[in-house]
Every structure is written in C-alpha cells, then in structure tokens.
C-alpha cells in the first residue's frame, strides 16, 4: 500500500471511527489494569506483612519462655530454612546477637531497605519490621521483596503486550474497513468523473447486497437516469427550436431581400412590410409558446393550485368552440358528468382543453363530430376529446405530443406544432395521465385525472 493510499485511508470516516474506538478501549484497559494491579499489590503486601508479624510473635514467645540464648539458636536454625525470612537481633547497646540481615536493618517500624548481596553483588530489596522485645532486645524480621516484585512486573508486562496487540489489531481492522469503504466511494467518484468527462451513460455499480451503499448507488443512478432524460430532451428541444425557427427566419429574410431588390411603388413596399410583419408575428408566437411550455414544465405553478370545477370548465370551453366548429361544418357535442372537481390551475386547464379543441377542429375534415366528455371512472375522473376524423397512425400516436412534431398530411395546415406539447406539459404538471387512442375512426385523447380530493366540497358524483 503506497503512502498516498495510506494517507487517504487514514483520513476516511470509517478509519477515524475505528481509531476512536481503539483509543477508548485502550484507555479502559489501562484503567482496569491499574485497578487490578493495585489490588494485587495490596494482597501481596498484606500476605508478606502477615507472615512477618506471625514470625515476630513466635520469636517473642520464644524469648519469653526460653531466654536469649535459645532465641539466638532458634534464629540461627531458621535462617537455614528454604525460603526463610531474614532476621537480626541486637541488644540494647546495638550489638548483634543473631541473624543474617545487615545492621542497617535495625531501625523502627516497617521499612523497605536495599542491601548489596555479599555473593552476587546485586542490590536486593527487603521489607523489614523492627520491634522492641523484653530485656531491651530489638528484633528485625525481613522478607525478600524480589518474588512480589516479579509478580507485579509480570502483570505489567502482560498488560502492556495485550494493549499493544489490541491497538495493532484494531488499527488493522480499521484499515481493512476503510479500504473496503474507500473502494466503494472510489467507484462512485470514478463514475461521477466519467460523467463529467461526457460519458452520460455511466452508472455506479450495484452489488446487490441492499446495504446503505447499494441504496445510495441506486438513488444516484436513478438521479442520473433523470438527468440523462432531461439532457436528451433539452438537446432535442434546442435542435428543434433551431430548425423550426430557421425556416420562417429564412422566409422573412427572402421577403425583405426581394422587396429591397425590386424597384416598386410604395403600395408594393407596404405589402412587403405587412408580409414581413406577419412572418415576425408567427415567429414571436412560436417563441412565446415555447416559453410557456418551459414555464409550465418548471412546475412553479403548482403553488397556486385550487379546486377547479371541471364540469363547468369543460362546458365553457366546449361552448366557446361550438360556433367556430359549426362554421366549418363540424359539430361539438359535450357529454359531461356534473359537479366533478379536481385540484389544479384553472387557466392552464382551460388552455389545455382549448388546445385540444383547436387541434381537433383544425386537423379534421368537414362533417366531423368532436365529442368532449367527462366521466366519473371509479376513484378517478376521466376526460376525453374524441373526433371522427382521419385519426393518427398507431406508431405516430406517442410522437404527436413532441415539440414541433407534425403529421405528414398536416404540414400545410397553419400552426407551429406546439399545441399538443403544451397539452402534455399541463397534463404532466397536474399528474394527469394523457393517452392517444384510436377512436375508429378518428383520434381520442383521454386524460385520467389523479385520485379525487376528499372533504366536504369533494366529489359527490
């Protein structure tokens, strides 16, 4: 593992967490060890003191019952025992009577002393208790501190090693965890970088374990899908706009050039200016239709949604178009269920149905019947605009909602090919399912509204 990778590992969140746990655990081990150490030390000390005091009591008794010389003899004998204690008896003048402890052992009470061993030359520690006995004699009894110190050292060593082992293990664990973590983060970073570089189709690999990382990856992938769709439609739209505006702008230019080139009367110029103005008007219309669609798609209008009486709204629209349809030899019949309401934007819904009727009137032959209907389909209301015209071929039915899309046969009909795109945008904003179907003959556009609102003013039908 290179240094760079290591330094990245050390900076990951999971490594930091592992490190923190190791630290906390080490501190608790140290505290626990100290407590155990202190109580072990205490027990060892107590045991030593008990042994020394028992010896002192025994020797005192010996002095009282047997006398000085017997005590000295007894002590001499005891020094030869295996694991014997150490002794020193001095008289009131400080003269050594018996024992093997050096004379500096003679003091008062409990003391720890260090004595140089006569044979090895090494310093040895003793715990010594000195007491006053009968006849002014002073008895000191000591015990070698070596074994108890060995126990303590061994304990500290064991504690130290286990601490080291623990810290190493937890760091290694943290390292492994972080490397695993980093690999998955790296996968996401790689994907993001590839996308920034232009490969919009790239997706983050999903392991299928359904853990947090998988869910994150799935969510990010879904977001990327959405972005890709949006980018694609944006690209499509900009292309469409460029192409659709080129034609009228080109026409406008030709008209102006022709008028400028040909010498003519002021009447002729006026006609040319009027034609150019009309052409500009149509370009502006296309622009504002595009802007409206974009604004509707932005969705800001949802904030102003209110309860809308669909039955009344549809009746208003159908009635508005009835006379114009009649003039063109077409009929509009309305078949509306009463009192149906939905939540939405009145102006946009009106425009949506108006566009559908505009469309139906414009693209059908005389004699066509256009039926506007609103029905209560269980939990959802359904509206439809159906004509008995020439219909739309099945493979083109989805495409009619695209911007600037026009059927082959309606290329000559005036219009900019945005009417149904606006319908689709309004439908999308309201959560309305929009579908183009065969009315055999003709086209039927159905709009299935979202679930009805509840409440006192809700649907009664």
């Amino acid at each position: 593992m290179s240094f760079a990778v290591l330094s990245r590992v050390v900076r990951t969140a999971s490594f930091g967490l592992a490190f923190l746990y190791a630290l906390l655990f080490a501190i608790s081990v140290v505290i626990l060890g100290t407590i155990v150490y202190l109580s072990v030390q205490n027990a060892v000390d107590r045991q030593m003191a008990t042994r020394i005091d028992a010896e002192i009591a025994l020797l005192k008794e010996e002095l009282r019952s047997e006398g000085r010389s017997e005590l000295a003899r007894e002590i001499q004998e005891r020094t030869s025992y295996f694991h014997a204690l150490e002794y020193l008896v001095v008289d009131a003048h400080g003269n050594r009577l018996a024992g093997n402890l050096p004379s500096e052992a003679n003091g008062s009470g409990w003391r720890d002393i260090r004595v140089r061993d006569s044979r090895s030359g090494a310093l040895k520690g003793f715990r010594v208790h000195t007491v006053l006995m009968d006849h002014g004699l002073r008895l000191s009894v000591g015990d070698d501190l070596g074994p108890s110190e060995n126990i303590k050292t061994a304990f500290l060593e064991a504690l130290g090693w286990s601490l080291v082992a623990f810290i190493l293990l937890s760091l290694a664990g943290g390292l492994l965890l972080s490397v695993g973590f980093l690999r998955r983060v790296d996968a996401i970073t790689c994907t993001a970088e590839a996308i920034i570089a232009g490969d919009l189709g790239r997706r983050i690999p999903v392991r299928g374990t359904n853990d947090n990382f998988d869910r994150l990856s799935q969510t990010l992938n879904a977001m990327l899908d959405r972005i890709e769709t949006l980018m694609e439609s944006l690209r499509q739209v900009s292309n469409d706009i460029a192409h659709s505006l080129r034609t009228p702008l080109g026409r406008l230019r030709q008209k102006l050039e022709r008028a400028a080139a040909a010498p003519g009367s002021s009447m002729k110029y006026k006609r040319a200016i009027n034609a150019a103005t009309a052409e500009t008007e149509s370009i502006l219309d296309t622009f504002s239709a595009l802007l409206r669609i974009a604004q509707i798609e932005a969705g800001s209008r949802q904030a102003g949604f209110v309860e809308v009486e669909m039955s009344a709204l549809l009746e208003n629209v159908a009635d508005a178009y009835a006379a114009a349809a009649e003039d063109q030899g077409k009929t509009i019949t309305a078949n509306l269920a009463p009192d149906l309401k939905i939540v939405g934007d009145r102006d946009l819904l009106t425009e949506m149905f108006a566009n559908l009727l505009d469309n139906a009137i414009r693209h059908t032959p005389p004699g066509t019947n256009i039926e506007v209907s609103l029905a209560n389909g269980g939990s959802r209301s359904i509206a439809s605009v159906a004509d008995t015209g020439m219909g739309v071929p099945p493979d083109e039915r989805e495409r009619i909602f695209r911007r600037f899309y026009r059927l082959e046969r309606s290329i000559k009909t005036p219009g900019h090919g945005l009417g149904l795109s606006l319908v689709a945008a309004v439908a999308e904003l309201h959560g309305i399912e929009l579908a183009a179907e065969d009315n055999s003959p003709g086209l039927r556009l159905t709009m299935t509204f979202p679930k009805k609102i509840d409440g006192p003013h809700g649907n009664r039908a």
């Binding site: 504002s288 802007l291 604004q295 508005a320 114009a324 425009e351």
Partner: protein, 225 residues
C-alpha cells in the same frame, strides 16, 4: 387623458408615446423606477403604464408603494416575458391590467380606455342602451327598436361587454379575457365567429350598423353618426 409611462427601453417608450399622442392623450415618460415612483406621487395622472422589469425599482414595488401611499391611479403592467405567473402577481400587487410584450398600440390604448372608464352615474345599471338597442341585465331581454332579439348566453355576455364600453374600441384579447376567461390566444377564430353571429342578430334587420370592426385594433359598438 394624462398618462405616465415608466419604461426603461427607450424604443418601446417612444412607440407608446407616439401611439398615445396620436390618440390625443398627454403622455410623459420616465425610464428609471425610482424617478417613476417619485413622478407618480408628485403629480396627478389618469393612468400609469409600468414595465415589470426596471432599473432602480421594479414595477411590482412601485405599484405597492403607490398603493400604500393611497394613490389609486389605474396601473397597466407591461411584461416582456410570456410569463404565466405575471398576470396573477401583477394583479395581486395592486395593478389593474397587464399586457405582454410585444403588443400593438391599439391594444394598449383600448385597455387604458377601459381602465379609465368613468363609473356609471347610477350605482347599478340594469339597462344599457346604444341608439335603439336596449338590453336589460336583469331579465336578459334584448330589444332593437321594437323587435326582440334572442341571444345565446355567450352572445349576451359579449354584447353586454361591448355596450358597457360603448363608443370605445375593445380588442380581441380583452374580449377573450372578459367574455370567455381565456388568458391565452386560441388558434381558432372564436371572437370573430361570435361577433359575426352577434352582428347578424343585432344589425341584420336594420340599416344602421352599430357593431363595427376597427381594423388592426378590435371592435366597437357606437351610435350611427
């Protein structure tokens, strides 16, 4: 009428000023929002035309400040965007009407006329008259001379709006908004169709025509001269 125009685009302002002066109005122009608000509070106007987007102070704020100071002068907003929210925002802030750029002067003038229409002498008019045409708003009865005219509900609303604005031009867009509640431009000739049917019923049996088409502007109902 004395009209104040607050508009930062000089070409647009020039176009409006020319249009208003040609129609016999006195028009003044301010190109900065702050100066515009000052002018509007200092002097009296019959109507004010305000662009939504202005340097210094935007149109909405100007109207809000004006209304807070108790100035009730009718305000018409101009918006450059095909904003679908602009109308609601503008009307909520205290504006009285709105117009989307680009627009024709005839449309602006017609709307200003409608805005500055004097309130009727009687508080509630129930009968409207133009020459020998009479409509009763309560009984919905329409008479031309001695003859009763039968109108469909929409035709009645159309005629009522024309008669409330008698002698003044109303534009197609105004009719779409007031009679059909359409705040967009339908491709089908809805207004034209209804006007021609209404004209046939109202003017059909008489030698004096009352409903006139003003080319490039709109429609007007007026007494024969």
């Amino acid at each position: 009428m004395r009209i104040l125009i607050i508009e930062d685009d000089d070409e647009t302002a020039e176009y409006i000023l020319n249009g208003l002066r040609k129609n016999g109005h006195v028009a003044e122009h301010m190109s900065d929002g702050r100066d515009g608000l000052m002018q509007a509070t200092r002097s009296h106007y019959d109507a004010i035309v305000i662009d939504r987007m202005l340097p210094g102070l935007d149109g909405l704020t100007i109207v809000k400040s004006m209304r807070e100071r108790g100035i009730r002068t009718p305000v018409l907003f101009l918006t450059a965007r095909a904003g679908i929210d602009d109308r609601v925002e503008g009307l909520n802030s205290g504006g009285d009407d709105y117009l989307t750029k680009p627009f024709a002067n005839s449309e602006l003038v017609a709307r200003l006329h409608a805005l500055t229409r004097r309130p009727p002498l009687t508080p509630v008019e129930t009968v409207l008259r133009v020459a020998d045409l009479k409509i009763d708003l309560l009984t919905r009865h329409v008479m031309r001379g001695d003859a009763t005219i039968l109108l469909r509900p929409r035709e009645f609303r159309l005629l009522e709006y024309l008669m409330r604005n008698a002698e003044r031009v109303v534009t197609r867009t105004m009719l779409l908004e007031k009679v059909w509640e359409f705040h967009f431009d339908p491709k089908t000739k809805i207004v034209e169709t209804h006007i021609s049917r209404l004209r046939a019923k109202v003017d059909g049996g008489s030698k004096d025509r009352l409903i006139h088409t003003v080319r490039g502007a709109g429609y007007v109902i007026r007494r024969p001269i």
